[in-house]
């Protein structure tokens, strides 16, 4: 196939960090007018690969060809000159400038005058041709995540990119916004752009891509035509063995209103309301999902309940006792065993430089009267967790920062579950985890549920939430826009709630 | 815990305050201090003679021996003179410099090294080495310790040496007084490192003033204190203040030459200290009292070689040439200065003139030294804590 000119062709790319092999002999290609999905679990080397294309990293060996020419990309600027546009997960925009200013910024122009006068028309032509629906004079800080992403895409297109790489573009989008994005991508494909979309969501792969290259542990395992494959086959390629995609939802006898949040309002560090008048109840033996676009108040909800963030007003009742305003230690002293698995695992839930044993001690080091820490039970616990949860680690003495994301999560979740909580709060427990580990986590949560534990599950994958949770609470801008029954609702309904359309009163009563 | 904490800190705070203002423990009440040359005991040396080729001399300096003027320079120069006049080799002289006397640990380590290097005699040049030297003398009876400007000694291997620099100051006062008289302004300034309680500084000021008054009786001396032996900025400020107050000649007892350069900038005149400062201020510097430490070092080391060293405090002056004046800046001194100085110098050498001879009144009018009385060496070294008539602290 050497005759065919590919927009991007990677031959035997290898990249190592110290002794960690991030990419090994990766080969892939994409033509103009094609959408290629790169599918792989977290840690399979997708992002490293794309960072080499955008000049952030440099391959140790192997060859990159752009439009049939071998190239060396040393800096992001080189990538731009090669007409490669990269859309990162974290946007690189200047908040106080308008969309138009952000788009034209960084583009070399002879004088300011031509820039000001000529550009808007060029830009609006660009928007029209691809179907972008955006107000170019709006300031970035006033924009939603989806709008910001649009600006990023416009920016690279305006820089002349005809090769577009998107790293997990839908992670921050509602289902509706995802649809819009995909429509735009299809338009661009029609006009001859080469598009690479990095993702781990199977549904999106099936929906948008022409071909799929699957990465596993840094190697390119296979490239298949999307039309000729199935989610099941892709999963097997990704994981390396057959897996079941069913999520269990056991029916459990529930203890009503074990835990209640009543008209809770919380301000964040900037003094802005992160939660407004939030009320809900949580039963023992129930998994209550919390859905919402990232930054809708999930973090504040968790931290307020866990006693880490002060509330403006409201109450958090556990068996009708208000625990709001108490410190974590006081909450434990009340006989409430609450486990909180924070979103920020290494920044909050675990001490990254400590080993597994010492991390086991984080909430229990004070046990006993001796001034010294009793390491023995912690070591035993660490050892048993490593075996039970199949944590991959050289030893229990390895600092947790050396462990992969999934194993870190297992350490954290394992510790919290071992403390036999009555209430378990868990934020994005499967983020960054491979499919196998994710299912292991779901099983662990269900096990707790069967024991009668009340579980608050902050999630992002609506498919998972609909399968795992009993009810789903939807947050939008810090307010509850609805609490729905997971067995009867649809993704679309939740998507609408996420954008702020509240449910009608009757539906709420029907619960 | 918290309460205990509060109580303890209160107690400590009280103790601190009490210590600051309540403590007036008399110094040296238990040390056997023999000061001055008064007690001359005819004794034979406890030390054997040392072959000239074998003798080792250790020196402890406070600042760098690379300096080209000032205190350490004068001592280093003296050691070099001793080496040459006795014909010793470089290897026989071990000079440890840059040993601040505030870093007691370093002082002791350095002394130990000199002892370990088998020095026969060790000269320690700075006042605050004193307590460490005293300890070392007790611990190393075979080694001779000689300490400059202090107030301690023992009867076996530890003596103290200093000199009658006030004699040179008296003579420099003559130069200053004649210059002021020539100008016709009876106002002379003096920048002093330490205040009236410091006998060395105050004695020097008084001697200087007596020299001034011997040629220009109505002339007044105004003193400004910097509070530091070496602080060019403060010395400059003090000099400027004195000039602004109308002084036409400035003298100094402090280590930098800033007073002289300030005098030159303001078109007045100056008397330096420690080394000839004419190079720094050729249009202002008249003359400077200086030390010739080589006189003492040569004599002391020769005694060690001869096996005649005995522990006796050394306090000499013009009689042996330990103190003197730098060359007169002939182009600017008042006419007749050289003659007047030579006259007084001869009298000092002959013993006819003793600077601190009564009657002397202090500046409140009280008689301190009666008619015909003379201050003892002990009084000169530690007891001058008053300014004489004609000297004013400003």
């Amino acid at each position: 196939m050497k005759e065919k000119i590919y927009a991007i062709e990677l031959n035997n790319i290898t990249k190592t960090f110290g002794e960690v092999v991030a990419n090994k002999d990766v080969c892939l290609n994409v033509c103009h007018g094609e959408i290629l999905a790169i599918l792989g679990e977290n840690g399979s080397g997708k992002t490293t690969l794309m960072n080499m294309l955008s000049g952030i990293y440099h391959p140790d060996s192997g060859e990159i060809q752009i439009n049939g020419q071998p190239v060396t990309i040393n800096a992001p600027k080189d990538a731009i000159d090669l007409k490669i546009g990269m859309i990162h997960q974290h946007f690189k925009l200047v908040d106080v400038l308008s969309a138009a200013d952000n788009i034209i910024m960084g583009r070399h122009q002879k004088s300011k005058k031509t820039r000001k006068s000529k550009l808007p028309s060029e830009l609006s032509a660009l928007c029209e041709s691809f179907g972008f629906d955006i107000n170019l004079s709006k300031k970035i800080y006033e924009m939603s995540v989806s709008e910001k992403q649009t600006v990023e895409i416009l920016k690279v297109l305006y820089q002349g990119a005809d090769i577009l790489i998107l790293d997990e573009p839908t992670a921050v989008l509602t289902p509706q916004e995802t649809k819009k994005l995909f429509a735009i991508l299809k338009n661009m494909k029609q006009s001859g752009a080469a598009i690479v979309i990095i993702t781990h969501k199977l549904g999106e792969v099936m929906e948008i891509s022409d071909r799929v290259t699957v990465l596993r542990k840094g190697e390119s395992i296979a490239t298949v035509e999307t039309a000729e494959t199935t989610p099941k086959q892709l999963t097997e390629l990704m994981v390396g063995r057959p897996v079941s995609l069913e999520i269990e939802r056991p029916g459990v006898e529930q203890e009503k209103n074990m835990f209640e949040v009543h008209r809770l309002s919380v301000k964040n560090n900037d003094g802005v309301y992160a939660l407004k008048d939030v009320s809900f109840s949580l039963n023992g033996g129930e998994i209550l999902g919390v859905a919402g676009v990232a930054g809708s108040g999930q973090k504040e909800l968790c931290e307020t309940i866990a006693g880490l963030l002060p509330a403006e007003k409201g109450a958090v009742l556990y068996h009708e006792e208000n625990i709001l305003g108490k410190t974590p230690a006081e909450i434990i002293n009340l006989g409430i065993s609450m486990s909180f698995i924070p979103e920020d695992r290494l920044g909050m839930g675990l001490v990254s430089s400590m080993d597994i044993t010492d991390n086991m001690l984080l909430k229990s080091y004070k046990n006993g009267k001796s001034p010294f820490v009793n390491h023995k039970p912690a070591r035993e616990l660490a050892q048993s967790l490593v075996e039970k949860l199949e944590i991959v680690t050289p030893s229990i003495k390895t600092p947790v920062r050396y462990l992969s994301g999934g194993n870190v999560q297992k350490v954290l979740l394992g510790r919290e579950i071992e403390s036999n909580p009555n209430l378990l709060i868990t934020a994005y427990p499967v983020r960054g985890l491979d499919i196998n580990s994710s299912y292991k986590i779901y099983d662990l949560l269900n096990e707790q549920k069967k024991k009668g534990v009340a579980i608050l599950f902050i999630g992002e994958d609506l498919d998972v939430m609909l399968g795992l949770c009993d009810r789903v609470l939807v947050l939008c801008h810090g307010e509850i826009t609805g609490i729905v029954d997971a067995k009867t609702t649809t993704k679309e309904e939740i998507g609408l709630l996420m954008t702020g359309e509240t449910k009608t009163q009757q539906e709420e009563d029907a619960e | 815990m918290k309460k205990l904490f509060k109580i303890v800190s209160l107690v400590m705070a009280f103790a601190l305050v009490f210590a600051l203002f309540g403590c007036n423990k008399p110094a040296d009440d238990k040390t056997t201090t023999t000061t001055g040359a008064g007690t001359t005991v005819a004794a034979t040396s406890a030390f054997d003679a040392v072959a000239k080729e074998d003798i080792k001399v250790g020196v402890l300096h406070i600042t760098s021996i690379q300096e080209t003027s000032g205190y350490t320079y004068a001592h280093h120069k003296g050691i070099q003179e001793m080496k040459e006049s006795l014909g010793l080799t470089d290897a026989q002289i071990i000079e440890k410099d840059e040993v601040p006397d505030t870093e007691t640990e370093l002082v002791k380590t350095s002394l130990q090294e000199l002892v370990d290097a088998d020095c026969d005699i060790i000269f320690a040049t700075s006042y605050n080495y004193m307590d460490s030297v005293e300890e070392f003398a007790a611990a190393n009876p075979k080694v001779i310790f000689s300490h400059c400007s202090g107030s301690k000694s023992n009867n076996s291997n530890f003596n103290n040496y200093f000199g009658r620099i006030y004699e040179a100051r008296y003579l420099s006062g003559i130069a200053a007084g004649l210059k002021a008289k020539e100008i016709g302004t009876p106002k002379i300034g003096f920048v002093a490192a330490m205040d009236v309680k410091n006998s060395e500084v105050t004695g020097g000021i008084n001697a200087f003033a007596l020299g001034v008054q011997s040629v220009y009786p109505e002339c007044e001396v105004f003193v400004k204190v910097t509070g530091s032996w070496y602080d060019p900025v403060k010395e400059g400020q003090a000099a400027k203040a004195l000039i602004d107050a109308g002084c036409v000649v400035l003298s100094q007892h402090c280590d930098s030459d800033t007073v002289q350069t300030t005098a030159q900038q303001n078109n007045v005149f100056g008397v330096g200290y420690n080394s000839d400062m004419t190079t720094a201020a050729p249009k202002a510097h008249l003359v400077a009292p200086i030390w010739n430490w080589g006189v003492y070092y040569t004599a002391a080391v020769q005694q060690v070689i001869n096996g005649t060293w005995i522990s006796k405090d050394y306090f000499e002056g013009y009689n042996v040439g330990l103190v003197g004046l730098s060359a007169l800046n002939e182009s600017i001194v008042a006419a007749g200065t050289a003659e007047k100085i030579a006259e007084a110098e001869a009298k000092i050498k002959s013993g006819e003139l003793f600077v601190f001879t009564g009657p002397i009144l202090d500046n409140t009018g009280k008689q301190i030294i009666g008619e015909g009385e003379k201050l003892s060496d002990g009084q000169i070294q530690t007891g001058i804590n008053y300014y004489i008539k004609g000297v004013t602290l400003s």
């Binding site: 990254s352 | 601190l16 210590a19 071990i94 505030t102 007691t104 090294e113 005293e134």
Partner: protein, 372 residues
């Protein structure tokens, strides 16, 4: 900066972050650093026209070989440099582990010295005075209290107002120093004009055991204490967690403010003990009491990665260098400046190698990509 948009040139050398090295690798690397330092220092000595081997032998002799009467004389002197350094770095390392940048060791040592001196000044050897076995422990507690209170100040301000502790502790050093200057040339001055308070009476002097200061035992006890405090105690565990991440500490239910105050007090108290050790073994309090260990201790603590046993080694190295090279002046006639430069070169080479624990050089590879 690329030529025409298609092809660029890779720089010859790039600096890349490397994976963290294993313990064994780190030890090897440090050993190599030590060798390199010795070689670099040797080159400097050779440049001065001396034989490096002779000079190093002299340093070694200077640090260990005594005189005829007392073969341990040099060792004792080396230990005099060693003890304050190890104790200071132990104290500082507690705060550093918590990522609280206590640059105030100097000031805490001074305050410790001043507090201890208060008691020393009141004691006399007269009958009825406080006996040494009570006075010295009293001075010890006072010294610790002085240093501790001095360190508490920046901690309180950090917690209440979020002030920068680096600047705060640094500035307190000067306040302490000027306060000390005021005392020794003011209320506590012995002879007018000379900044000296005179020697303490015998009861306030550090005990000597076989010619060695008892402070060596204090240092040994503190090494063991700090080692177990950090590694095994609950409070040590808290320090590590707070240092790693305050959100984690709060998440674990720790009272972060209390931990910072307690740790800083302890850190300062240990530094304050240095002040007590210094005044009781030199028998006096002077402006130069710290000898700069408050700053050198920072280097020692970092070089040993806050590991108590590592600090023993590094402090010993520093002490040997300091004592040994000071002898060079007496034996080889090398100036004090030259030996300072030599110490600097050795330290710099040693510290410079730290770079390689985190980074590596990647050289351009001369293969492939040209044709085909």
């Amino acid at each position: 900066m690329i030529a025409n948009g298609t092809r660029t040139h890779e720089p010859l050398v790039r600096i890349a972050k490397r994976r963290e090295r294993s313990r064994a690798e780190l030890i090897l690397l440090r050993a190599a650093a030590f060798l390199l330092a010795i070689v670099a220092g040797g080159a400097f000595i050779a440049l001065l026209g001396h034989s490096p081997i002779e000079v190093y032998a002299e340093i070694f002799k200077g640090a260990f070989a005594g005189n005829k009467r007392d073969p341990l004389s040099a060792v004792k002197q080396t230990l005099v440099f060693f003890v304050p350094l190890i104790v200071t770095s132990l104290g500082l390392s507690l705060a550093f582990r918590m990522k609280f940048w206590n640059i105030g060791g100097e000031g805490q040592i001074i305050m410790g010295g001043i507090f201890a001196t208060i008691f020393a000044l009141y004691s006399t050897d007269n009958p009825g005075a406080i006996p040494s076995f009570i006075l010295l422990p009293l001075m010890f507690v006072a010294g610790a209290l002085g240093g501790g209170l001095m360190a508490l100040l920046p901690a309180i301000f950090k917690i209440k107002f979020g002030t920068n502790e680096t600047l705060f502790t640094l500035m307190l050093n000067y306040i302490a120093l000027y306060f000390l200057k005021y005392l020794v040339s003011g209320p506590w001055q012995r002879t007018p004009g000379f900044a000296s308070i005179g020697n303490f009476d015998k009861s306030a002097r550090m005990w000597e055991i076989g010619g060695f200061h008892a402070s060596l035992l204090v240092a040994a006890a503190l090494v063991i204490f700090v080692h177990f405090y950090i590694k095994k105690s609950k409070q040590g565990y808290e320090i590590s967690v707070v240092g790693e991440s305050q959100p984690t500490a709060r998440y674990a239910g720790m009272n972060v403010g209390k931990i910072i105050l307690r740790t800083m007090f302890l850190s300062g108290a240990i530094c304050g003990m240095v002040g007590m050790i210094k005044v009781s073994s030199t028998y006096t309090l002077t402006e130069g009491i710290t000898g700069g260990v408050g700053f050198t201790g920072i280097t020692v603590a970092w070089l040993s990665q806050f590991n108590a046993l590592g600090m023993v080694l590094v402090s010993l190295l520093f002490a040997i260098l300091q004592k040994g090279s000071s002898v060079m002046q007496t034996s080889l006639g090398l100036s004090a400046d030259a030996s300072n430069v030599l110490q600097g070169i050795i330290l710099f080479s040693f510290l410079g190698t730290e770079f390689f624990t985190r980074y590596k050089f990647v050289f351009k590879k001369n293969n492939s990509k040209e044709k085909e």
